[in-house]
Symmetry: C2
Subunit: 179 residues, 2 copies
Amino acid sequence: MSKSNGTKAKTGRRPAKAAAAPVRADGGPGGSQVSLGRLGDFVGFRLRRVQNHLSRHFATATAAEGLRSGLFSSLALIEANPGISQIALSREVGQDKSVAVAIVDDLEKLGWAERRRSTTDRRRHALYVTAAGQAKLDALFAVVDETESAVLHQLSPGEKQLLSELLDRMYAAIAGGES
Amino acid sequence: MSKSNGTKAKTGRRPAKAAAAPVRADGGPGGSQVSLGRLGDFVGFRLRRVQNHLSRHFATATAAEGLRSGLFSSLALIEANPGISQIALSREVGQDKSVAVAIVDDLEKLGWAERRRSTTDRRRHALYVTAAGQAKLDALFAVVDETESAVLHQLSPGEKQLLSELLDRMYAAIAGGES
DNA sequence: TATTGTTATACTCTATAACTATA
DNA sequence: TATAGTTATAGAGTATAACAATA
């Protein structure tokens, strides 16, 4: 899909009103023809579009549960790292530690995870997923899987693999270098 | 998100001392010993990681401007679609029309865009970017370009192209109707 | 003194609903 | 009746600051 967004005078000013551009941004849900302009030249825009859909779809599919944002990924990280501390959790998710407190509060209320005071460092709470949390996690991962499949099913296995690889390379550049 | 110019001086007392930069273990996910577990099996997770970084980096780089979220992409879409209506704009960005109102309010206050009452449909406001907005847009696109380059410079041009193509195919599956 | 967890708080973001003026 | 825009508002999400317990 070559990014042919029509004329894209990158560095210069574009003639705003001269050309009767294909605006037409009317109502029709079937054929909105809004141009992306320079925005279409960037990967970040495409990334956000797709990711937006995935997260919204997941939120909709799990709306009945009333899950707060970040709860699922936190639970998954606790599962993968039994005994992890709240501060390590917050670092991994990229949020403040106070957010982790609220999330773990919820997880405990739901009976999906539990805090245990660390024996080696009594400041810490070691986090663990409960049996109920494991079961819920299975269900939630199923939702994620389904959500992704709907978007990825048009990509061949090789392309999916390649996509992951490219994203990992990008992330490595972030993780390795400066921020 | 740090709002930079907030300066919310509440109850005084600022320690006035910065942390001693904990060697590593946090800023760099590269060396993190935290396992991703099943989370690592999904593309959406990778997508979010990278996109999170890009949007945060952009927000940090433009913190001095005090731009509200969505303002940049809205301005870019107005540039690409002169005369676009607010409701079409909100659809394209994926937000409620009331959000578009607030954003365009800001854009007008900043002198970067303007509303003109549509001549054909007097309910509508046709949106246009001003000369000042064009200039600002150039600067902001430069920031985006720089932000992306830092992450993409390890991908070959062919790989970048391929990445865009794959993301577009995914988005087409979304826009195509299955939601 | 530094770190973990906690609480309180403020600010941003966003959707919903009601309203107007047009169509 | 339906649509574009507007306003008011409520709720979610998140960061900041201050603090207690522990290291």
